[in-house]
Every structure is written in C-alpha cells, then in structure tokens.
Symmetry: C2
Subunit: 132 residues, 2 copies
DNA sequence: TTTGTTATTGAAAACCATTTTCATTTGCAA
DNA sequence: TTGCAAATGAAAATGGTTTTCAATAACAAA
C-alpha cells in the first residue's frame, strides 16, 4: 500500500501537489506504484481526514497534509488567477477561525447541517502577473 | 449572441445552474443556440464580472448572477456533501464581509496581490443525508 | 450593390483529469 | 497447500469542458 509513500511525499513539501505530482515523486522511490493507486490512496486519506483536497480552479485537484491536532500549521490560501501561484497565509487566521466557528454553529442550528469543513480563499493577481 | 438569453435564465432562478442546465433552459426559447455558445458566453460573462463561477466539488461548474452594486443579495454557500444541495445563507454575512475586507487589505499589502475575489463555503451533511 | 475581410456560430472532435473495469497478484487463514 | 478475498496497475471508459474547423453572418470598402 502506497499510503506511507504518499504521506511521506506530502509531509516533505509545502507546495500544493496534484495527484500526478505526487505520483511522480512517489514513483522515484517506489517505481512499482501506479497512478491509479495514488488516486485511490489519496481518496482514502481524504476520507480519513489525514489529507485535504483543494480545488483552485485550474482543473486539477491539489492535496496537502491536514495539520495535526495542535493546528499550528493552519492556514488559508491566496491564489493568483494569473499564474496559479498559491500562497499559504497564516495572518489573520485566528480571527478568521474564530468567526468561522461562530458562523458554523449558527448555520448548523439554523439549517440543521452537520458542518465538517469550511473553505476560505482569496483570488487575485500577484505582482508579476499585474505588470505586463 | 446568447448573452441576453443566458443572463435572462440566470436572473430568473436562485438555483445554482451548471452550463448544461443553462443550455437546456436557453434552448427552450432559442433552440438555435448550441452548448458551445453557452460555454463561450458564460466564460465572457464571468470575465466581465457579471456572473460568478463556482466549484462545489461535484465536477461541474455552477454559475450565478453577480449581485448588483447594492449587493443586497450577497450570500455565501453551505454545501451538503451527501446530496449536493446548496443553501444560500445571508446570516452572518455582514460580519464575514467586514472581516474579509480587513483581511483582504492586509493580505494585499503584505503579499502584493491585487485581490479581486474571495470564496467562503461551508461543507457538511444536511438532515436527510445524516439519517440513513 | 458587389467584393473582400473579419467575427460568430455550432457540430463534431479533441482534451485531460479522474474513475472504472478487469485480469492478475498478493495476503492470509483453514 | 489450497482457496478465497482484498489489493493492484494497465488499459479503457467517463464526462465536463475546450478546440478545431467549415459555414455563415456582419460589416466595410470600392
């Protein structure tokens, strides 16, 4: 099972890798593992909650390790719609999370949803993509 | 140009229509218009800023009319990961928008981004999907 | 009105990330 | 060993979206 291999790749990067990115890196160490298995493993890790799956709008899913219980690494994303660059930001995170939590409770009650997740992203153009 | 037709469809629903949904509705009134044109028109309307494009994770993009300058209809989304139902909520919106705006300014400055957009979504299971 | 040039259009084909299928291999218990 | 279920990867299928391309519409110049 490529579980370990996939987790290993994800825990040694702060980039936002696609399934194929991960496949290629895993492949260096375990050439026997196929792309299908990487997809299957990722799917499983996402279901378990060990990995987050994101969609930044470029047509392919990106994956990152879920932060541990300490949540020290919690961040949100700033996405450049020009070049696709993704910035992890931690500024304001505490305030955002506090508000989110409050909102979450309100929404859960009002709409009778069991909320498991939220998504906050900002979109814009980075310096390089604004100039030309 | 199906511009009018597409806008007309979008302004008469509060659902979150996919390109094909829109195509089918437009098709009732203008049978001559093809799916390709609907995609092209949507693309253009999104670029212009008249329409928002969303990804709720079910593999197809959804579109909704951008709220007018008054912004009276501004809302965020609550998505059921079970059945795909999407709830537009307006509760807490003011607080969210206020924080978002503040965050936006901070991020713009710090990361030198021209932020044009943000996305907030909550994911969970609705009552019906939780029971069985 | 003609002629020429460009923009618009839709049908069909191509694209491409992801999923399914399926035959094979592996793991493991009896 | 033997038998059977789970796991695996290669290849095929899927399906939303994008491209291609030939045909048509729009419009400008003559």
């Amino acid at each position: 099972m490529g579980r370990e291999a996939v987790l290993d790749v994800l825990s040694h990067t702060d980039q936002h890798l696609s399934a194929e990115d991960i496949y290629m890196r895993v492949h260096e160490t375990y050439p026997a593992i196929g792309l299908t298995s990487v997809y299957r493993t990722l799917d499983m890790l996402v279901n378990i909650g060990l990995v987050y799956k994101f969609d930044f709008g470029d047509g392919r899913a990106r994956f990152e390790l879920a932060e541990g219980p300490k949540g020290k690494d919690h961040h949100h994303h700033l996405v450049c719609t020009g070049c696709g660059r993704i910035v992890n930001y931690r500024d304001f995170i505490d305030e955002e999370v506090a508000l989110l939590k409050k909102t979450e409770e309100g929404l859960s009650k009002k709409y009778n949803f069991a909320i498991t997740n939220h998504l906050i992203q900002f979109y814009g153009l980075c310096e390089g993509c604004r100039k030309p």
